[in-house]
């Protein structure tokens, strides 16, 4: 959900881009992080924990806590709270431990 009206702030969002979350095509902006774009579309569940398979989302949003690790363009363990969105990106929930592609 994007803020429509704000008493103090305005946002210069730049260019709109399309990206994929799982199989869904979504829209976001180049100036925002993947996590921000997902939250704008109402998606809060970013991965499942390694052992208990519990859903996990964004917690610190500044790259410290590793709660939001996702698979981006096939690469696991990407901190989506500090990674900017790009046109055509493929973003997936990370289920358990991330495996590097060979």
């Amino acid at each position: 959900m994007r803020i429509k009206k704000h008493p103090i702030l305005t946002w210069d969002k730049g260019k709109k881009v399309k990206f994929f979350f799982e199989d869904k095509e979504l829209e976001g902006y180049q100036t925002e992080t993947i996590a921000a774009a997902l939250h704008a579309s109402g998606i809060k569940e970013m991965r499942e924990s390694e052992e208990m398979h519990r859903p996990r989302g964004l917690f610190c949003a500044i790259g410290n806590c590793s709660s939001c690790l996702m698979i981006v363009n096939g690469e696991p363990n990407v901190r989506v709270c500090v990674t900017k969105l790009q046109e055509g990106m493929r973003v997936q929930r990370q289920l358990g431990k991330g495996e590097l592609q060979r």
């Binding site: 009206k5 925002e32 949003a61 500044i62």
Partner: protein, 363 residues
């Protein structure tokens, strides 16, 4: 290998002020920031700052950030490294940096660490559900990206951050169901609390969160009243329907780099956890490594800016840059810190600092 007078790690309020001060005195500075922009957490502080004119009181944090960043960018003595994470400090005086998958080595004569702090978590069932955010994350989503974290929020903690972020949520058009605070008193400034209450948000002191509800995401929370010994009073449990739980339960210093670099730490509750042991001129137990801002003990951004100035002047003076001018800045900074920490609001910090000095004498 890059050689430089002073390497500063962290481009928030403390790091920016350290860089400006040291560079103005003539030192060559490299400022290392892990994010893709400078400013640290100032970029999301939409409220006007307290303190005195010297710390830009009455100006919004976000505007102070812009001003400091402009000063850093236009200073020829400062080299800025963005997207750069300081990974380690080695016994031969080398600072290793990962910048966009490149490993870069810097050998500074002095180093100022201003790595900041991270959000604290509290224990309750389901605290890992999506929809439970740290207060800083809520500010990032709203104030940096213009995105609402949810529709209705339970705020945990009535310190300044809890109060200010609640007000910012209301400004963004998000409903705040209540603020719960375990202590019988509101920790933050009453001017903030009154603003929230006037807008109809209950501030429930002696209340805590018992658990988050929800299967894949937060759908509610159970809260309850506490007695004077912080025990839950049976029968006072109530469920609030919220999709977001915001934790404003404090911060804890990010000590990894100073710890790895050999700096000794001490646990000081009033300074928010483990802090690097340092003297009044902010030098850690490693000679030539200074600490500033939340890393040196969690306080307001106003104090972080002054500590940055102090560390910058001390480091530049130690290298022989304009010692007289540096000495004057050092004296001014000490006075500003004294003023910021005076009065009842600064009592905790004052206690923390005197504990720290006791620990330092012993080691």
């Amino acid at each position: 290998m890059k050689n430089v007078d002073i390497a500063i790690v962290g481009g928030g309020p403390a790091g920016l002020c350290a860089a400006i001060t040291a560079a103005d005195l003539g030192a060559k500075v490299i400022l290392v920031e892990q994010d893709d922009a400078l400013g640290g957490q100032l970029v999301k502080q939409t409220h006007m700052f307290f303190g005195s004119e010297k710390q830009h009181a009455g100006t919004r944090g976000i505007d102070i950030g812009t001003m400091l960043v402009e000063q850093v960018e236009s200073n020829p003595n400062i080299e800025i490294m963005l997207n750069a994470t300081a990974m380690g400090y080695y016994p031969d005086g080398v600072l290793g940096i990962n910048q966009e998958e490149n490993f870069i080595k810097i050998k500074p004569l002095k180093m100022i660490l201003a790595t900041g702090a991270s959000e604290r978590m509290i224990a309750f069932p389901n605290n890992d559900l999506p929809g439970v955010f740290g207060a800083g994350a809520v500010q990032t989503l709203m104030n940096v990206y213009g995105i609402k974290p949810g529709k209705r929020v339970l705020m945990v903690g009535a310190g300044n951050i809890g109060l200010i972020v609640s007000y910012q949520l209301l400004q963004a058009g998000v409903e705040v169901a209540a603020i719960v605070e375990g202590s019988p008193n509101i920790g933050g400034y009453l001017v903030h609390a009154s603003k929230i209450r006037r807008l109809g948000v209950p501030v429930l002191t002696s209340h805590t969160i018992l658990e988050a509800l929800g299967d894949r995401e937060v759908t509610g929370a159970v809260i309850a009243k506490l007695d004077e010994k912080w025990n839950i009073i049976k029968g006072t449990e109530q469920t609030v329907v919220v999709d977001t739980i915001c934790l404003a339960v404090g911060l804890t210093p990010l000590t990894e780099l100073i710890d790895q670099g050999g700096g000794k730490l001490a646990y000081i509750r009033e300074l928010s956890g483990y802090v690097p042991i340092h003297n009044q001129e902010l030098e850690s137990t490693v000679s030539g490594i200074y600490v500033a801002g939340d890393l040196a003990g969690v306080e307001e951004a106003s104090s972080a800016m002054v500590e940055g100035k102090l560390a910058g002047a001390v480091a530049a003076k130690a290298l022989g840059y304009k010692p007289k001018a540096a000495e004057q800045i050092i004296e001014e900074a000490h006075q500003e810190l004294f003023d910021l920490r005076s009065g009842p609001v600064g009592a905790g910090i004052r206690a923390g600092i005197s504990k720290l000095q006791e620990v330092r004498q012993r080691c």
